[in-house]
């Protein structure tokens, strides 16, 4: 099996469990804050499975950016695309957002903006760390 595919599944299996944990925390907060908040067993099962898959993919897709022979645009597109599709599917399946063009457009815009901000922040921090370490090498 390709080493990147192996790493994808390895990371996914390591961190997939965090999805349902975060979901449980959110549901606990909602129960405490929203009056009459309740869910059916089927809704809970669907939410657990979909958030597990979400965390699995979220952890696994970092592999795309480590494939050296891929161009930067391809890596980023695959990384962003996989996350966007998984998040959209998860939100739609659980009816956390309605299946309406306007809503999807807003969701996409917010998702892209948050993705860009997080990516830029992490990248700049790591770049600064790398530069500081390089000064010690020279």
């Amino acid at each position: 099996m390709n080493q990147y595919v192996k790493q994808f599944f390895h990371r996914g299996l390591l961190f997939g469990g965090f999805g349902p944990i975060v979901l449980g925390i959110v549901y606990a907060i909602l129960q405490e804050t929203v009056r009459g908040f309740s869910l059916t067993g089927r809704e809970v099962l669907l939410a657990i499975l979909s958030t597990y898959l979400l965390a699995f993919v979220q952890a696994g897709v970092s592999v795309f950016n480590q494939i050296d022979h891929w161009p930067l645009a391809k890596s980023m597109l695959c990384h962003f695309g996989s996350l966007y599709l998984t998040y959209s599917a998860c939100y739609l399946i659980n009816t956390w957002i309605p299946f309406a063009p306007q809503v999807l457009l807003i969701f996409t815009a917010i998702f892209a903006a948050v993705y860009l901000i997080i990516w830029l922040t992490v990248y700049l921090i790591i770049k600064a760390t790398g530069n500081r370490l390089n000064t010690k090498l020279n």
Binding site: S62, F64, N65, Q66, K127, T129, G130, L133, K136
Partner: protein, 143 residues
């Protein structure tokens, strides 16, 4: 500090230092001496060779096998990575679960778009610094 070398095949090889205090130079000489005393045996398809840790750019694990990467060669070792690590001087640092880097052989650190820190070695090989080992790498480089 005065430096003298005596080439004498009859005398046991030794390094003696008289210093007023322990300086980075003394530590560096000590490390070089210790590294020189530890000889590894590695092999490739053609031959089995002895190599000094100082000549190794990094030690890596691939498919449960440990390799030493020098400037030009990839030699398989018969040790486990933790056994090699235990014998190495401060000049080496573990950068992730399967790679020990020779600090002198690091060309530069790069940020990747995935938010990871990549180490590029002088022999062209590159690997990543794991979050777990980043603190250790920083400390070894004097931060």
């Amino acid at each position: 500090m005065i430096f003298k070398v005596f080439i004498d095949k009859e005398h046991e090889e030794e390094v003696l230092i008289y210093a007023h205090k322990e300086t980075p130079l003394v530590t560096a000489i000590q490390q070089l001496t210790e590294e020189d005393a530890f000889i590894l045996v590695g092999s490739n398809d053609r031959e089995t060779v002895q190599l000094r840790p100082a000549d190794v750019h990094c030690f890596i694990t691939e498919n449960n096998k440990v390799y030493a990467l020098t400037a030009t060669e990839k030699l398989q070792l018969k040790y486990r990575l933790y056994q090699v690590e235990a014998q190495l001087s401060e000049q080496f640092v573990k950068i992730n679960q399967s790679c020990i880097a020779n600090i002198r052989a690091i060309q530069r650190f790069d940020a990747t778009i995935s938010g990871a820190l990549r180490v590029r070695f002088k022999n062209g090989y590159s690997d990543f610094v794991s979050r777990r080992n980043l603190k250790n790498v920083k400390e070894r480089l004097g931060f």
